[in-house]
């Protein structure tokens, strides 16, 4: 029979192979799903994974979706490396969007090169402030951060809805729940003319690299890693646990807040209720898929961005629900965790009957098998 056996040393190969295997298994499952739905599976997979990025505009759209994912994931990586289970990126993101909107609407049609940085900083500050709540509750009241951050996500969503129905609502917006359009000075410059891709992508790439450097080159990164792998060792070494927790939360909140701010000042240009299609949650998958390394995060954010585009393409091209996105994302994370087991374990074919009775040949040994 098959059994799992602990490896002496964790497999480096499996660590990098696992995301690839997960993708392959997801594609195979997707093939079967299309078959089950009585659709052409090859055409379905082509529409989901290839058609969305088959031209320059498509690639730009991919970057547009990857940027917020990467920003959120870079921040979450800092938390997860330290085993701080912050799943509040969605909330940080939404609050960042609200904060940036408040600033942008304040400046209205004003001009000045400093407006955009102030608007983005407002977003960062609001995101960090939101994550500071969870940090405070964790360090001062020992609250489980998973539960507090998820609750704060729901609260943030309701605050956003309140904002667009109330104080931030466009007075000339025909009573649609959305803010007024931002002034030009509050909009992010374009990266590639003729597309919607803005310089938010550069922020994201920079953040990914910075997180890579943080863990490869800095003492604080080292402390965070130790805290995650063995918090008792971190305690003995005298690392400031509370300060590290605060650092992880604030950076994660700030980066996700920047993602939210970039979304409203970038492709949307105003605050709307559907400002996030779940970027903050999908970013969790990006972190795991990207192996918490800079290059991995970048690749994984592109892949997960593709699932958003693929879902839209499903709706347009095959009249299938957009929810295909969530299905593929869930499958991907599922298979990834399954494959990850083989980093620590290997499969062994054991034939206990033969080995046990060959050695001792006692009734006890055969009973054991």
């Amino acid at each position: 029979m098959l059994s799992l056996e602990r490896r002496q040393v964790d497999s480096r190969l499996m660590e990098y192979l696992s995301p690839v295997l997960a993708l392959v298994l997801t594609v195979i499952t997707g093939f079967l799903i299309f078959l089950g739905l009585d659709r052409d599976p090859v055409e379905g997979l082509r529409l989901f994974f290839i058609v969305p990025i088959s031209d320059a505009v498509g690639v730009a759209e991919l970057g547009l979706k990857a940027a917020p994912l990467l920003l959120c994931a870079a921040g979450l990586t800092i938390c997860y490396r330290a085993r701080i289970w912050n799943i509040g990126a969605e909330g940080h993101f939404l609050m960042g969007a609200v904060g940036a909107t408040i600033a942008a609407l304040h400046f209205g049609e004003g001009t000045g090169f400093w407006i955009l940085p102030v608007v983005l900083l407002a977003g960062i500050a609001c995101g960090a402030l939101w994550s500071a709540i969870a940090a405070f509750l964790k360090t001062h009241f020992h609250c489980n951060e998973i539960l507090t951050t998820i609750m704060l996500n729901y609260i943030a969503l309701n605050l956003l809805l309140y904002a667009v129905h109330g104080p931030l609502k466009d007075p000339y917006g025909f009573s649609f729940p959305q803010s007024a359009m931002f002034g030009d000075a509050a909009l992010l410059p374009m990266l590639i003319p003729g597309t919607r891709l803005h310089i938010g992508l550069l922020f994201a790439l920079l953040a990914a690299v910075a997180v890579g450097v943080l863990f490869a080159r800095t003492f604080i990164g080292f402390q965070l890693k130790v805290l995650g792998e063995d918090h008792k060792a971190a305690e003995f070494a005298g690392f400031p646990r509370k300060r590290l927790v605060w650092f992880a939360f604030l950076v994660a909140g700030g980066l996700a807040g920047l993602a939210g701010a970039s979304e409203v000042t970038g492709p949307i240009g105003q605050l709307i209720p559907q400002v996030s299609p779940g970027y903050g949650y999908t970013a969790i998958i990006v972190v795991f898929m990207g192996r918490m390394k800079a290059v991995g995060l970048i690749l994984a954010s592109a892949l997960l961005a593709l699932t958003f585009l693929g879902g839209e393409m499903m709706q347009i091209g095959m009249n299938l629900p957009k929810a295909m996105t969530g299905l593929f994302q869930g499958l991907l994370l599922f298979y990834l965790l399954t494959c990850d087991a083989f980093i620590h374990y290997r499969i062994r074919l054991t034939r206990r009957h033969v080995t046990a009775s060959a050695g001792t040949n006692t009734p006890l040994a055969t009973q054991e098998s």
Partner: protein, 308 residues
């Protein structure tokens, strides 16, 4: 406030607390075996859509309930495979279950949006429902409310007074010692996780068959997460789960109550009340870490595999 109004609020509280009670009882058993399943929200959504689909296809509420529970069990077995057999990180596996369940339920449920079914209707218990106050509050509900109370009694007796409950707790406190004593640790954990799945599925089915009765995407609205907080709040004890479920139930209908009083507060702000209450309760409870630690199943969240 008139007495009638109080009775109405209490009755609505019981109804709103019921899905929380069901899912939290399942998670309680699961966590008592040492497994933390963060996938409650995903399992509930799958249970809700499967339950709705079952009734839509067959017209029978029983089929719907069974479908919801079976779907919940199926999801929990996926989790069990990762968290128990493959000894994966339970946090990550649970999150995966929620993300997968959210996506899958939205995908499967697309066709059911806007459809209607004949859901559970009120089933007053003869004589008992005529008791003043207590009657309308406890004995004038749909069948599943009574089932949830029966489940509560069953879980309470199981944990406190049965051999099975003892074995379950032994596994949760120390899988190593339980294994040394010859208990099938992995099997017991699988059973506990499946029970959690069945309860989450039933809870989801309650939402789509009795509470609304409709299917909408993401209709659980964080109840699975609130239930997880509830189990911590209850320090892993059934009676407190029951009280907590109704407390959170009250929090989730409070906005209707306040609107009834004519308070002019925006509905969006009021809608965040249950989540705020959850955070506040967590703060009040977690402020004393020793107290929580004393009651936490010792092995919770730690993957365990037999060393042989």
């Amino acid at each position: 406030m008139s007495p009638d109004m109080i009775v109405n609020i209490l009755a609505a509280t019981v109804v709103a607390g019921t899905p929380l009670l069901i899912v939290a009882l399942g998670e309680l058993i699961c966590e008592r075996s040492g497994v933390l399943n963060l996938g409650q929200e995903g399992m509930m959504l799958i249970g809700a859509v499967a339950g709705f689909a079952g009734v839509y296809a067959s017209g029978s509420l029983l089929v719907g309930v069974i479908a919801g529970m079976a779907a919940g069990v199926g999801m929990s077995l996926l989790f069990g495979f990762m968290a128990i057999t493959l000894a994966a990180n339970q946090y990550a596996a649970g999150l995966a279950l929620t993300i997968f369940g959210t996506g899958l339920s939205a995908f499967v449920g697309t066709d059911f949006v806007g459809k209607t079914i004949d859901g559970f209707t009120k089933l007053p218990i003869p004589f008992l429902s005529d008791i003043p106050v207590l009657g309308p509050v406890l004995f004038n509900h749909d069948l599943l409310v009574y089932v949830s109370l029966g489940l509560f009694v069953a879980v309470y007796v199981f944990l406190r007074h049965s051999r099975g409950g003892l074995l379950l707790r032994a596994v949760g406190e120390s899988p190593e010692s339980a294994n040394a004593n010859g208990l099938p640790v992995l099997l017991i954990r699988y059973l506990a996780v499946s029970f959690g799945g069945a309860m989450a599925g039933l809870s989801g089915a309650y939402l789509s068959l009795a509470y609304t009765p409709l299917w909408t995407e993401g209709m659980t609205a964080g109840r699975g997460w609130i239930a997880l907080a509830l189990v911590v709040f209850a320090t892993w004890r059934p009676v407190r789960v029951l009280l907590g479920a109704y407390l959170f139930g009250l929090a989730s209908i409070l906005h209707l109550v306040l609107q009834g009083f004519g308070w002019d507060i925006s509905p969006e702000l009021l809608a965040m009340l249950p989540y705020v209450v959850t955070v506040v309760v967590l703060v009040l409870l977690s402020a004393n870490p020793t107290r929580t630690r004393l009651h936490t199943p010792l092995s919770i969240g730690q993957p365990w595999r037999p060393s042989r």
